[in-house]
């Protein structure tokens, strides 16, 4: 090996690595948010590892909660029995209501549609660089998932949408708190329209494109999806307006606290049926 190369081996390796990464960056820029093949390959290799680790961790947790730590079980059982009782009553009432409007066969078809229109998934990972941007779930294309499907939490609040990469057993979810996310929403009382995007900094969102002349929107108002974007179905609750201020621009600066709770985001539901076919 020439003496120069030997003496400057470290600097040469550093320069080569940086040039390599700048090349990767320059390949990525024209692709926009679409992941490169390399990014997809790393995801496809490591996501199953994360999936398996999550399974292992959950199995350990189950072992602990099922056989060792049983202190709260009785209370939880009672609470769930009460909840089940109320849900059964509610289900019965709703069935009767729907049954009044449709015949039995139509009702059965309708209920079968409800069950097949979503996939329940567990969160197995969060964004490695920015926790407010994305999560990874344990369901993928094998379960009928593809990009641009709306995702809600167990309370029915909007979480985000599926984005690429989606592997056979795992999928990436772009959260509503990501600054590149865009959801068409309207306020529940004043019916003011706007576009919701995350700030990706503190888990908050901003309501964009509401003109400075708009006076009807008030703090505390709830925001719900409109469905105009053809990704998120109409009527999903997203969050509440926390502050409205005027700045020098054409639009108001409106901050929104999303209902999405990072501590409670263990299970989510992906709405798999296309918007027009949802029951």
């Amino acid at each position: 090996m020439p003496r120069f190369l030997k003496d400057h081996r470290g600097s040469i390796v550093l320069a080569a690595l940086l040039v390599g990464q700048l090349t990767v960056l320059s390949i990525q820029v024209p692709l926009g948010d679409e992941p490169s093949y390399f990014e997809k390959a790393v995801f496809f290799v490591l996501a199953p590892v994360e999936h398996a680790f999550h399974g292992l961790f959950e199995a350990g947790g189950r072992l602990w909660s099922r056989y060792v730590y049983l202190r709260t079980v009785e209370g939880q059982n009672q609470q769930m029995r009460d909840e089940l009782f109320h849900l059964r009553q509610e289900n019965l009432l709703l069935r009767n209501e729907v049954g009044r409007l449709k015949d039995v066969r139509e009702l059965e078809r309708f209920l079968a549609g409800v069950h097949s229109s979503f996939v329940v998934a567990s969160v197995i990972g969060v964004d490695a660089a920015n926790v407010f941007r994305s999560i990874v779930i344990d369901r993928g294309s094998r379960d009928g998932l593809k990009a641009n499907m709306a995702v809600i939490d167990r309370a029915g609040f909007l979480v985000g949408r599926t984005v690429n990469p989606v592997s056979a057993g795992e999928a990436t979810i772009q959260l509503v708190t990501d600054d590149n996310c865009a959801v068409n929403v309207r306020s529940s009382v004043s019916r003011v329209l706007g576009q919701l995007a995350g700030d990706a900094k503190n888990g908050r969102c901003l309501l964009r494109y509401v003109l400075a002349t708009e006076e009807r929107l008030a703090e505390g108002e709830e925001l719900i999806t409109t469905g105009y974007d053809r990704i998120f179905p109409p009527g999903l609750r997203v969050g509440r307006v926390t502050s409205i201020s005027k700045d020098s621009s054409l639009f108001r600066r409106i901050e929104v606290r999303p209902y999405l709770d990072f501590r409670e985001i263990g299970r989510v539901a992906v709405l798999t049926a296309p918007q027009g076919e949802r029951p």
Binding site: R9, G10, V13, L14, L17, L18, G20, Q21, L22, V24, L25, Q28, D33, P35, S36, F38, E39, V42, F43, L46, V49, E50, F53, H54, F57, V123, I124, G125, V126, D127, A128, A129, N130, V131, F132, R133, S134, V136, V163, T172, Q174, D178, D179, N180, G198, D199, A200, K201, N202, G203, F262, R263
Partner: protein, 165 residues
């Protein structure tokens, strides 16, 4: 006997896998905790301290690419910051004495700060993307990195000393 570069690759792969799994496990604790502790920076700094600047730079590249593959951010940004951090950690630690816990704490804290500052600069200034401050939890990152590196490096030295009698 395996060649030393192959041994380094295997060790690096295992350290990276451990960082990946620890990061996944942190989700169960809390979000601010996950923001405050940059597990990948800890892995890169530790590896650079033990193996030197070239291995540190390569580890930084690999760790950055894993981070970017599991993020919707710009692919390649975390890698650049971690590569520079890994290289400088290995290089500077050969030039000055950072073995004592006090010095190691300050040094690894500075390296953690460098990694964070580079990433913020690249992500926010050049690409205009948001930084997850997490209500200020992110500012604790260099200190958390320093604590983790100091403890892990002390444990590594103890194990190494015991092995060599």
């Amino acid at each position: 006997m395996k060649p030393s570069w192959l041994r380094d690759v295997i060790h690096g792969g295992l350290v990276l896998l451990a960082a990946f799994l620890v990061h996944a496990a942190l989700r169960w604790i809390s979000v601010p905790f996950q923001i405050a502790i940059d597990v990948y920076a800890v892995a890169v700094i530790i590896f650079a301290l033990v193996k030197g600047e070239i291995a540190g730079a390569v580890m930084g590249t690999a760790a950055g690419l894993v981070v970017d593959s599991f993020s919707l951010g710009v692919f390649g940004l975390a890698g650049i910051a971690a590569t520079v951090t890994g290289y400088l950690t290995g290089y500077i630690s050969r030039k000055i004495n950072v073995v004592s816990p006090g010095r190691m704490f300050v040094f690894s804290g500075l390296m953690g700060l460098l990694d964070f500052a580079l990433w913020v600069l690249l992500t926010s200034v050049f690409f205009g993307r948001g930084i997850p401050w997490g209500g200020g939890a992110a500012l604790a990152r260099p200190a958390a990195t320093a604590v983790a590196v100091t403890l892990l490096y002390a444990a590594y030295r103890k194990i190494k000393a015991r092995r060599h009698g």
